[in-house]
Amino acid sequence: MSSNAAVAEHHHVGPGEPPHIHHMDTPTAYGAAKLGMWLFLATEVLLFAVMFCSFAIMRYYHLAEFHDASHHLNLPLGALNTVILLFSSYTAAVAVTKAQKGDNKGVIRNFGISVLCGLAFLVIKSIEYTGKAHHGMFPVVWNEHFYEYKNFLGLYYCMTGLHALHVIIGMVIMVIYGILPARQNRYSGRYYTPVELSALYWHLVDLIWIYLFPLLYLVG
């Protein structure tokens, strides 16, 4: 994404060489890129923080409804998605180590698995959404019977919807900054910043889900 702008400033450098950046030396650029990414992740966490806070308050007000409504979510699918995301996070972490060792094929393989996992996650998520809509538990097609779950479900769709958007963005980042350059043997022990940053972003997607899963599916 945009925060990778600095690291992408490569002009005429050989494979595995760090890009020449006119206003800072390579270690500084590496430190800057990483700090920048972490700051960006901080803003992402705070984006979700608003919904966690709203969730806390709404749950406080509508405890019984939240409890009942959460039982209407598909726990097996949610659990499966959790496993998928954890695994994809693992492969993303491995991809960084591969890049550090100069194994560009390893980067492609591991990021590829992560992207596929992301895809699987989205497919399962859409199965869940359609199931909900089918039962009239979707804001536009409310079944009067489930109307009292609207606060829970409203938050559920906001939280998982925004999370799904992050999954998509994460996949795009991994393809553009991880897989495509790795096909040209771009990365080495001297230069692997984009891989590390893409992986960081993907871990954040996982991190958010680690909280979303128990809150939404288990305790309500």
């Binding site: 002009h11 006119h22 206003h23 800057a32 700051l39 803003t43 769709y157």
Partner: protein, 544 residues
């Protein structure tokens, strides 16, 4: 970028960042922080003018009780649209990007001896996010929003105007602000010149650093809150809408969680500017540098735990009101420390009254008024009376216009020689300052009195007994407006037609930004400076 570095090599004395490349595209696509400063400055000034016109229309309408200019403000709805426009333009499009994105962009790399910010392309990207946000906001104004800039639910979730688009614009602008802040934090951490330790940083850098932290970590909160308003309007998420079991007061909490710290985004950099100006024109080190720095960081930190003082009568629990009232006073202490240190800097100085110094001294007065009236509003029992009256309006404008905008004007005058390479006419700029300073006080002192008499804010019409004060306030507003026009036209004219070339260091300052050419070359410094002394090293050392 690297390819062009050789073309700006030393030897071509005449080349600077303004002329080393020409053509409109070289400006619009430039990643040079100084050119991005110009892009930002010209854009925010458009909205300063638009917001100012909206303000003058409102003031004219309010000059007499009942309809005053029905041909323009044809009914209360139109008036409500104008104050929303004024608020949204001034807050989201002018003051928030105001000092950080303009003066901050120009000065931060220069003051820390860097060639550019850490992520130059991200810097340009956040400018274009700003432009996109501004355009979306402009489109939203086709079916004008009438919620006020606070977008309180459930009015904002039920009104038929273009609220969704407008809050989305604010969301995009928020991301512009986040990316600017993020960029500055990394820049200050990573790109300081050799020898420039944290305790040698100019206070403006410290203030910008504190500002950048707030921008980065507070803005997402309002961004998400605004998205939830869209969700509420689009499919009834049931979070803020009371008819669906939501809680409108929760929306206020989340909104002010950002919108209180945002006041410090606006005013902290202005503190920094004043802290830069006073030592130069007093020829003295900044008094109590360490305390000034600590107080900047303290204000930023405390700013995050005081938000609900905007909500004492919003129906929050009494416990909450008491808690937030007490912590609010914590802000008063570092602010007071700053003022004391500024004034003490002038002690035994050698004071010259150039225009920036006048702005800085005017700032101290205006901010004293803003700060002390802030105490009224932090006091529970008194705030119950003053909440949502003209007292709040006046207090807010003393902080934001008297603080942030005067700070911006001070900075523009202070660093104008560096920015444009020319010297402006002191007499003209001093006259303009006098006009806008008098006009400002004439506008808002009557509003304090109106607040004391109980006049509520956001009123299109009012009982006749308030008319005299309103009329005075309107006259002041016009004087204020003329003052700004005069001052800005002076700067614009000088930049374009001015004859007097500015030397490298017209004020004989010790700041790093004055050690390079006026205007600076493309990559700021011929050679990266090495810092060996504390900032503001003026005056005669005792042992020397």
């Amino acid at each position: 970028m690297a390819a062009h570095a050789s073309s700006s090599a030393a030897g071509h004395e005449e080349l600077n960042y303004l002329n080393w490349k020409t053509g409109i595209w070289s400006w619009l696509s430039s990643t040079d922080h100084k050119r991005i400063f110009f892009l930002y400055l010209s854009s925010i000034m458009v909205f300063f003018i638009l917001g100012g016109i909206a303000a003058l229309i409102m003031r004219t309408e309010l000059a007499t009780a009942g309809p005053t200019i029905p041909s323009i403000v044809k009914d209360s709805h139109t008036y409500n649209v104008f104050f929303t426009m004024h608020g949204v333009f001034m807050i989201f499009l002018f003051v928030v990007p105001g000092i950080p994105a303009t003066i901050g962009n120009f000065l931060i790399p220069l003051m820390i001896g860097a060639k550019d910010v850490a992520f130059p392309r991200l810097n340009l990207f956040s400018y274009y996010l700003y432009v996109i946000g501004a355009l979306i906001g402009g489109v939203a104004m086709l079916n004008p929003v009438d919620t006020g800039w606070t977008f309180y639910a459930p009015y904002s979730t039920t009104t038929s105007s273009n609220v969704s688009l407008m809050v989305f614009a604010a969301f995009v602008l928020g991301f512009s602000s986040i990316l600017t802040g993020l960029n500055f934090i990394v820049t200050i951490h990573q790109l300081r010149a050799p020898g420039l330790t944290w305790m040698r940083l100019p206070v403006f850098i410290w203030a910008s650093y504190a500002t950048a932290i707030i921008q980065t970590v507070a803005t997402p909160v309002v961004g998400m809150t605004l998205l939830l308003i869209i969700a509420e309007r689009a499919f009834g998420a049931g979070i803020f809408d009371p008819t669906k079991g939501g809680d409108p007061v929760l929306m206020e909490h989340l909104f002010w969680f950002y919108s209180h710290p945002v006041v410090y985004i606006m005013v902290l950099p202005a503190f920094g500017v004043v802290g830069e100006i006073l030592p130069v024109f007093s020829r003295k080190p900044l008094f109590g540098y360490k305390m000034v720095v600590i107080s900047s960081m303290a204000i930023a930190a405390v700013g995050f735990i005081v938000w609900a003082h905007h909500m004492f009568v919003a129906g929050i629990s009494d416990f909450s009101a008491k808690f937030f009232s007490v912590v609010t006073f914590l802000v008063a202490i570092p602010t007071a420390i700053k003022v004391f240190n500024w004034v003490s800097t002038m002690y035994k100085g050698s004071i010259s009254f150039k225009t920036p110094m006048l702005y800085a001294m005017g700032f101290v007065f205006l901010f004293m008024v803003a700060g002390t009236t802030g105490m009224y509003l932090a006091m529970l029992g008194v705030d119950v009376y003053y909440h949502d009256t003209y007292f709040v309006v006046a207090h807010f404008h003393y902080t934001i216009q008297g603080g942030a905008v005067i700070g911006l004007m001070a900075a523009l005058h202070m660093w104008f020689p560096k920015m444009s390479g020319k010297m402006y006419n002191e007499t003209v700029s001093k006259t303009a300052f006098a006009m806008l300073f008098i006009g400002f006080n004439l506008t808002f002192i009557p509003q304090f009195i109106l607040g004391m008499e109980g006049m509520p804010r956001r009123y299109y019409d009012y009982p006749v007994q308030y008319q005299t004060l309103h009329t005075i306030s309107t006259i002041g507003a016009y004087l204020n407006g003329f003052g700004y026009t005069f001052a800005l036209v002076n700067l614009l004219w000088t930049a374009k037609f001015g004859k007097v070339k500015a030397p490298r260091n017209p004020y004989n300052s010790t700041g790093l930004e004055w050690q390079t050419a006026s205007p600076p070359i493309h990559e700021n410094f011929e050679t990266i400076p090495v810092v060996t002394e504390d900032p503001y090293n003026y005056g005669v050392h005792k042992h020397a």
